[in-house]
């Protein structure tokens, strides 16, 4: 059952990724990106990461994608005649070559390594969110706080950037 779902989720996410960069209308691109995000969330379930599955759907599909669609509606872009780069054939050819070689290397690698301290049974005993919480608030507390400061900076930056500029009256400010 797991291989079947893996093939389904991975094939649909790859097709949705290609459609995201191939559609002409930006709103269609956003909907293809939504398909990609939901199927990547399905891949997370196959990997015993239920907490990340929920976060992926809530944050990515629920918040980030709605932000994209909101800005698309706000700007009301007209679809352009030439929506691809002038020399896109060269880029496609080079990228296909690089991707092929990468796949060749990846599929030949054994990927052995040192096992960590969270085997599947220990994670499944109390659930993935319990295991993530214990680890995040002990070993990864400092990165967690740094991410909090980073998000605060991003909020302030976005507000300052998107604010309507006020016209400065030079004669008023001179006095």
């Amino acid at each position: 059952m797991v291989p079947f779902f893996f093939v389904y989720f991975s094939l649909v996410s790859i097709v949705a990724g290609v459609l995201t960069i191939a559609f002409r209308n930006p709103v269609h691109c956003g909907l293809a990106l939504l398909t990609l995000l939901l199927h990547v969330a399905g891949l997370f379930v196959l990997l015993n990461a239920e907490f990340l599955f929920a976060v992926q759907i809530i944050v990515y599909a629920g918040a980030i994608l709605v932000l994209y669609l909101f800005v698309l509606m706000l700007l009301n872009l007209k679809t352009e005649e030439r929506y691809l780069h002038a020399r896109y054939a060269v880029i496609l050819f080079a990228a296909a070559g690089i991707c092929g070689e990468l796949l060749l290397l990846v599929l030949r690698s054994p990927f052995g390594g040192l096992k960590g301290d969270a085997p599947a049974e220990a994670v499944l005993k109390d659930g993935a969110s319990y295991a993530i919480g214990i680890k995040m608030f002990s070993d990864y507390l400092l990165p967690f706080e740094i991410v909090g400061v980073f998000l605060l900076g991003a909020i302030i930056g976005a507000i300052v950037l998107a604010k309507t500029p006020t016209t400065v009256d030079i004669e008023q400010s001179d006095r």
Binding site: S13, I21, L33, L75, Y83, V147
Partner: protein, 100 residues
């Protein structure tokens, strides 16, 4: 049992797709969407290694990646709104104010 290299291969294909999108699309918003594809490819990689090497660290870093993607989307879309207000275009080829 799905081998780890299958997940890594899916992630590599998705990353290449996102990279091509950044390079060939001319609409700024679609370029940002392609960046999201690349971040998702990295997340698949992190979670797959976290599962197969039995460590929680990969999932935690994937959470941080999602937080950074949210910040990047907010700031990037704010920049798009500012640029669009001034020039009425989101074409990356026409945005060359900072070009030396």
């Amino acid at each position: 049992m799905v081998p780890l290299s299958a997940y890594v291969a899916v992630s590599a294909v998705l990353f290449a797709t996102g990279l091509i999108g950044v390079l060939i699309r001319r609409n700024f918003i679609i370029v940002l969407m392609a960046v999201e594809i690349m971040l998702n490819a990295a997340n698949i990689n992190l979670v797959a290694f976290s599962y197969y090497l039995e460590s929680m660290a990969g999932q935690i870093v994937a959470l941080f990646v999602i937080a950074i993607a949210a910040g990047e989307a907010a700031v990037g879309l704010a920049i798009i709104i500012v640029v669009f207000r001034g020039r009425l275009s989101t074409n990356v080829d026409e945005l060359n104010l900072l070009k030396w």
